[in-house]
Each structure stands twice: as C-alpha cells, then as structure tokens.
C-alpha cells in the first residue's frame, strides 16, 4: 500500500516533465507516444512556468484538460448505474462539477513538482479499440523507485483523448467511480446531491489554492 501511495503522488507530479524515450527508433513516429510527449511538453513549457499567477495556471490547465480528455465519456462511466436514471440537467451538473474537481485536484498537486521525468516505453492494445501507452516516472532522488504509469487513450475521429490514467495498477477512473458509488449509496442515489457535494469540495479546494 505505501509503495502505491507514493506512486500515486509522484504521478501527479510527472505530468509536467519532458518525456524521455526508452526506444527512440521503434516508437518515435507512433502517434500515441507523440500525443503523450506533446502533452508533457505543454505542461512544462506552457502552463507550469515561473512568475505566472496561480489562477492563470489553473485556467490554462483547465483548457488543456478539456481539450485532451474525453470528459463526457469518463463522466458517464464514473456515474455508473446512476447515469441511466439521471436527467439531462443532473448529468450536466455532475459533469461540470466533476471536471472542476479533477482540474483543482491536479492543480494542487502541481505545486509540489520536484523535477521528475517520464520515460515512455511503448504501446499496447486495450479493450474496445483503445490503446495503452506505458511509461515510468523517474525521480531525481535516487532513493525513490521508478513508478509505473499507464495512459489509456481513446481515438475520437483521429484525435487521441485520455480515457484513464493507471498508477501502479490502480485506475483513476475506476477509483472515482467507486468513490461516487459509495456517496450515491449513502445519499439515496441522488445525482443532484452528489454534484452539490462536489461543488462544495471545489470551493474548499479553491480556497486552499488561494484563487
């Protein structure tokens, strides 16, 4: 458990480092790898730069996140069975609150970036025509062991979008789904109440970020 916990934390930090290729010759042209590389590049050179206001960093990250993740797809899965019985308004309210929660969560983790790099190792097929990009997160501290990070990508009409991130075997999307299933269980299945809890959490996160 403790190894995994460290892995999860470090994964939050690795998104902002330039990727290093383990096998340049074989993989340099693979579009999935190019996608992961350019995303890491964007974070470190465009978003997470010095002398930039915190709120500006979060705004930029929000835009990149919305462009590069298939949010409706993830949001639907994360709601689980409750999606079917929720109204269109409830689904939208949830999706917006969920998106904001993910953006603010990761914004908080960026603050602790400590120079990690990622090494992309290769790709392999996932279920339903999706693709896994395998990478490891390497810390500048030699005592910290490298962490396995897998990107699950979906191909939407020729554009890759992130469908999931898997850290040391733990799927982020599955974790969110489990958490929200528990909350829905305890509030009688109300998606509206879940969206409200997320909004309240988002308020707290904004305060702790100082924006």
């Amino acid at each position: 458990m403790k190894a995994f916990l460290l892995a999860l934390f470090a994964s939050g930090l690795m998104l902002f480092s330039p990727a290093v290729h383990a096998a340049d010759k074989a993989n340099i042209k693979d579009p999935a790898i190019v996608f992961v590389d350019s995303l890491a590049d964007t974070f470190i050179h465009k978003i997470f730069v010095k002398d930039k206001k915190e709120s500006a960093k979060v705004d930029d990250f929000r835009n990149v996140f919305k462009d590069n993740c298939d949010i409706p797809f993830i949001s639907k899965f994360v709601l689980g069975k409750a999606y079917k019985t929720a109204s269109a308004d409830e689904r939208k309210a949830f999706q917006d609150a969920f998106t904001e929660n993910v953006v603010l969560t990761w914004a908080g983790r960026f603050k602790e970036y400590a120079g990690q790099t990622i090494a992309v190792k290769g790709t392999r097929p996932a279920q339903s025509g999706q693709i896994y990009v395998d990478s490891t997160v390497i810390s500048p501290n030699p005592n910290t062991k490298p962490i396995a990070l897998i990107w699950r990508l979906k191909n939407n009409d020729g554009y890759y979008k992130i469908a999931d991130l898997i850290v040391e075997g733990v799927s982020m999307v599955m974790t969110y789904r489990s958490e929200y299933a528990a909350i829905l269980q305890n509030n009688g299945g109300s998606v509206a109440a879940l969206a409200d809890s997320l909004k309240a959490k988002n308020k707290t996160l904004k305060q702790s970020l100082g924006i």
């Binding site: 458990m1 403790k2 995994f4 916990l5 460290l6 999860l8 934390f9 939050g12 797809f73 899965f77 689980g80 069975k81 929660n101 603010l104 969560t105 908080g108 983790r109 602790e112 996932a126 279920q127 339903s128 005592n143 062991k145 897998i150 699950r152 469908a163 999931d164 898997i166 040391e168 075997g169 733990v170 799927s171 599955m174 974790t175 789904r177 489990s178 958490e179 299933a181 528990a182 909350i183 269980q185 305890n186 809890s197 997320l198 959490k201 707290t204 996160l205 702790s208």
Partner: protein, 258 residues
C-alpha cells in the same frame, strides 16, 4: 512484554466492537465490503488517533530528522523485513525469488553496514518483496472482505492474518517471544515505533492528498487499496507462472455494467 501484547490485542478487539456499534446503518455498497459499517467506524477511529498522535509525530520525524537519517532508518527496516519475503517466496514455491531475497539480505547486512545502506539496489539486485497474504492468495485463498485494521489501516481479512503471521516471522520478533530477554523486547518496541513513524512519514503527502481532494476519503482509500492489492497478486502470479498473460483489472470495458 508478552502480556502487554495480549492486552493491546484485546484492546483492539474491544475497540472494533465498540466502533461497529457507533457506525452508520446503511447497507454496504460492495460485495467486497460487507463489513462497511464496521470498517467506517474503524477508519474514523484511525483518523482520530492519526490526527491527534501519529501524524504530528510523523511530521516531526520528517522535519526534525535529517533526510539522510530517514533514508538510513528506511533502509534498515526494509532490510530487516527481507527474510520474511524470502520465507514467503519459499512457501509460494518460488525458489528463484527466495534466493534473490536472501541475496539482498546478505549483501545489505554484510556490506551495507547492517542494512543501513541499500548496496543491493546499487548492484542492480532486483526488488524482492512479498508477504504472507500473497502466499495465501497463491495457495488459493480467494480475496476476503475488505477490513480496516485498527491503527494499521486498509487490509482484507486474509491479508490481516498475513500481516500477523509476517510480524511474528521477523527474526527479531521470534527472539522477542522469549519474555525473559528484556533487551530484545525493548529493542523490538523501539523498532516497531520507528517502523510506524517511517511508514507514516512516507505516506504523509498521499493521505493528506486523499483527505483534501476526496469527498469520501474512506471509499477512495478502499478502492485504491483493493485495486493495488489485486495488481500485486496478479504481478506475483506472472512471475510464478512465467509470463502467462493475465487479465489486468484496469483493462475494463467502459460500456459494461459493473
């Protein structure tokens, strides 16, 4: 000292019974967490003890003790628990990894100043970590219900038993069973304390992260623990079955009903 351990154990049992009474009465959300009301109670108890005692101590440990010293302590604890991995690999029928674990232990103890330096990793000797819970899994004990251990945190009943067995498999604990040997017993308590602090210090940022960002931290931790545990078992099985591909838990179908 042996009586103290018994007292603490019965104390835990009493506390878990107490907290099961206070916990919520909602029905469990998962077939894998039928003990949810009890577990949520224990989680709340752990959280209080952690907030009041353990976390502040771990924070102090992290800020006051120099990083080099923290690494030395971490290495020492990792090394002294390596024989347990060796024994478990042997029980799993994995002679290769048992050998690696023994090699690690000998290298670090003899050349790494009694385990305070991780010479084995510098020599590219691979990691060799397993436990009795995984041994039970290999023997076919299917995953048992999620169970939060008082003070120790997330586990399952099978893995909780595993932790207990491993605790007593440690050489220093076998020696400590002799109630006449006061020095060994005292050393053992010190080592246990150091291990708790070291573990807690290493996990500080993550638990803070989960508690800050999660609407239901209990459910988040449970999900992460169970997924990570299944992944460990699956990875271990791969080593034993020599690369026979196994279905990964994270390779789920987004359109399926779970």
């Amino acid at each position: 000292m042996a009586t103290t351990r018994k007292l603490i154990l019965s104390g835990f049992l009493a506390l878990t019974l107490l907290f099961s009474a206070c916990a919520s009465t909602s029905s469990p959300s998962y077939k894998e967490d039928p003990l949810e009301p009890l577990n949520r109670g224990i989680y709340t108890f752990n959280d209080i003890v952690d907030t009041v005692i353990i976390r502040p101590l771990a924070m102090m440990y992290k800020t006051v003790v120099p990083v080099i010293m923290q690494d030395i302590i971490a290495n020492f604890i990792d090394n002294i628990t390596t024989p347990v991995s060796a024994i478990n690999y042997a029980l799993q029928g994995n002679a290769d990894m048992a050998g690696v674990a023994i090699g690690r232990f000998m290298t670090n103890t003899v050349f790494g100043l009694l385990g305070t330096l991780d010479v084995a990793s510098a020599l590219d000797i691979p990691e060799a970590k397993t436990d009795f819970g995984l041994t039970l899994a290999k023997w076919g004990v299917t995953e048992s219900p999620y169970f939060v251990i008082p003070l120790l945190g997330p586990s399952t009943i099978r893995d909780g038993i595993g932790k207990g067995v491993d605790f007593f498999l440690q050489p220093i604990n076998i020696l400590a069973l002799n109630p006449n040997n006061q020095t060994i017993n005292d050393l053992d308590w010190v080592r246990l304390g150091a291990e708790v602090l070291d573990t807690r210090a290493r996990a500080l940022t993550i638990t803070d992260d989960i508690k800050l960002n999660s609407v239901d931290p209990y459910a988040t931790m449970r999900s992460m623990y169970l997924q990570n545990r299944r992944h460990s078992i699956s990875a271990d099985m791969k080593v034993i079955d020599r690369g026979v591909p196994r279905k990964e838990n994270y390779d789920f179908d987004f359109s399926a009903d779970y």
